[in-house]
Symmetry: C2
Subunit: 376 residues, 2 copies
């Protein structure tokens, strides 16, 4: 049996789902000759580490109890029975992770899995990576910081995986990586990478008013608590940046042209979420209606996409042919079109649900298993 | 630098394109810290092996010369200047391959790449696999023989790759493998896995007569020399079998229900290709026309697909909703829809060109690079 010890950073929706997946896949992985040992779990405040790292990792009952407590809103330390684990505070945590990486990283192997939503994990990730550990991310932030930091992480390219940062479990990063290593030069990637904005754009196409669509989406729970977090395009820009950097481009978030779906005078600094929903939004209806109509006259539809082409990454509304994969898109699926020498006239298309804890955590788990050859 | 020694079986359209890709990707792979060393190339008659296996493999000029001679129709031995290579006859070839595998397989690693179209490579592939070598296939036949043979090859699952056997370079096998290892149970795979039949079905949808479509496809070079090789569905059944076996099903080709697009009385045993095209075909027009019309009344379209579901694999014409990924398909792209827990209502869809030497060889090369961690 091959053992893959992991330390999980972040125990929110995705992190907990990952622990559940690991537990429920025990027999599948056993048949593949693999055991995933969870040796540490952290949240924003503390880190729990199994005292018995080399032997068993934490027991499944214990992992389930952690999930149960965390989803009830308790911090990691209480009210759990600590078993054979030790709790470290935020400050000690980094030291402990680095110590574990330096004892396991270059030998049996260790994987540090970032399911946090924090920009602050970058330092510990760079450190453990330099010590020979594997790094797996659902968290986009460490990959969208300064290019120098990205390059330090990506330098050990065989030891890092980040499928779930773009399109959740959809095999986008894996497919782009395959094309690159087969020498098939990618000339263009266009993606609808937000389920929320995919939904908004297809409702707009059906003639509904923007303000109504956004209000409905918010009440259906499709948006972030403040829908402007979706409408700003920032999250999509991070995904575009990750794809562009994967292509070897040395660009930063500031180099991406982002078209926000609301003007800055309706931003969070000027207006509460309630005011935005009740008043601000309706001012945007007319202009979008006109754009939809203009596009439609040309047989086109509007999509909110990320376009990566000619060393530029742009995020915003584009007019696209109705009969392309992106043009046909309805609802909240993500779609990515990849154009290359092999997929020149007709792109390689990957489509499916691009968000949700289940698929995101499944993508992280597939990444962990994909790294198995690096473990003893 | 990591060195990946390969022996290539088959030097036809795909095999030669692979050699070209390897040569033109030298600098990309060099940046990734990888050198692919071609230590042997075979065709149906003989095997050329570099005498100097551990040092350099064959030189790029020499590989280019092999391709040039083979594409001009010469066998491997003449008129090449053999350089530091030795030529083995068909019988000696297997011994030489096994000897190379046993000296490299368990240590530095060796990859045997099957780009032949032969069912006879299975024995040497099983042998080298048991000796620790990696096996990469574009050739479907060794994977669609008896289940026992398949299982012997697939037993060393981390050392085998066969992306290009289904949908050429499209990341179908890689995506299914990811879903399996993340414990996301696949409930259904539906694929349009033949560019030729994809084209035929979308032309039928446009109201053209079957006989005309097939004759036009043949004259455009879209079909095999005898179009019945496409219309029989046999090639798609092999692809379906590979997918079903990947899901862990212990089935054989004989267990697959295949709907041929021509009746057995029009088969190659009863009728020449010319007679089939000139006379046989037109007898099939009426019935297909009716089926298209019946489907259309229900808002459906006909697609020639492989359906893998409930432990059954069926190949043939299916009525599918016009607004599904498969229903919207036009032209010769392949499309695969994968349904699982994570992709339940809306499937994971992968679409793009599913044939051609360039994309097939690129898929093989991506498989080779994907195995890099197993090489010294
Ligand atoms: N959900 C999706 O559909 C999806 C899809 C793709 C990618 N992602 C990404 O996956 C990540 C996790 O998403 P989520 O929905 O699970 O978020 P979440 O529910 O907000 O959970 C975030 C977790 O990270 C922890 N955390 C915060 N700062 C930390 C730090 N410095 N060190 C360690 N842990 C820290 C939090 O701790 P506390 O519990 O103490 O607050 C919390 O447990 C995010 O980066 C998100 O963008 C999510
Ligand atoms: N082309 C595509 O689009 C595509 C897509 C997916 C998969 N594939 C698969 O890829 C494989 C190669 O296709 P292709 O188009 O390159 O075929 P091809 O042009 O017919 O070439 C076949 C090659 O295999 C050699 N060969 C035959 N028997 C052999 C044996 N026992 N040992 C070693 N070599 C042997 C042949 O030798 P000679 O030169 O002496 O005849 C020839 O060089 C096939 O299995 C095909 O199904 C092709």
């Amino acid at each position: 049996m091959k053992s893959i010890p992991i330390i999980l950073l972040g125990c929110g929706g995705v992190g907990r789902q990952l622990l559940h997946h690991i537990i429920s896949c025990r027999s599948i992985h056993y048949k593949q000759g693999i055991v995933i040992k969870v040796v540490g779990v952290s949240d924003s405040r503390s880190l729990l580490v199994s005292d018995d790292i080399m032997l068993t990792g934490m027991e499944d009952e214990f992992l389930a109890a952690i999930c149960h407590a965390k989803s009830a809103g308790s911090p990691l330390k209480s009210p759990l029975n600590l078993g054979h684990c030790r709790l470290f505070t935020e400050k000690e945590a980094v030291e402990k992770i680095v110590a574990t990486a330096s004892s396991l990283g270059g030998t049996t192997g260790l994987a540090v899995v970032d399911c946090s939503a924090s920009a602050e994990t970058i330092d510990v990730l760079k450190h453990v990576s330099s010590l020979g550990s594997c790094v797996i991310l659902a968290n986009k932030k460490p990959l969208t910081c300064a290019i120098e930091d990205f390059e330090k992480l990506a330098f050990h390219f065989r030891r890092i995986r980040f499928e779930s940062t773009v399109g959740a479990g959809l095999p986008v990063i894996a497919s782009v990586t395959r094309l690159i290593s087969s020498g098939d030069p990618i000339s263009r990637i266009v993606g609808s990478l937000s389920g929320t904005l995919g939904y908004v754009m297809s409702e707009l196409e059906d003639g509904k008013a923007f303000s109504e669509i956004v209000r409905a989406a918010k009440s259906l729970g499709y948006t972030e608590p403040d829908p402007r977090d979706d409408l700003s395009g920032m999250d999509i820009a991070r995904k575009g940046l990750i794809l562009a950097r994967l292509l070897g481009w040395r660009i930063n978030l500031a180099d991406i042209k982002i078209e926000s779906l609301y003007p800055s005078e309706f931003g969070p600094d000027s207006m509460s979420t309630e005011d935005f929903l009740a008043k601000g939004l309706s001012h945007l209806d007319e202009k979008l209606k006109e754009r939809v109509a203009t596009a439609s006259l040309k047989g086109n539809v509007l999509r909110y996409v990320c376009v990566i082409q000619d060393l530029r990454c742009n995020v915003g509304i584009q007019e696209l042919p109705k009969d392309s994969a992106l043009g046909r898109l309805r609802g909240s699926d993500n779609v990515v079109e990849i154009y290359s020498r092999c997929y020149e006239k007709s792109p390689l298309v990957i489509q499916g649900a691009g968000a949700g804890n289940d698929t995101t955590a499944a993508g992280v788990l597939a990444d962990i298993i994909d790294l198995q050859d690096l473990f003893a």
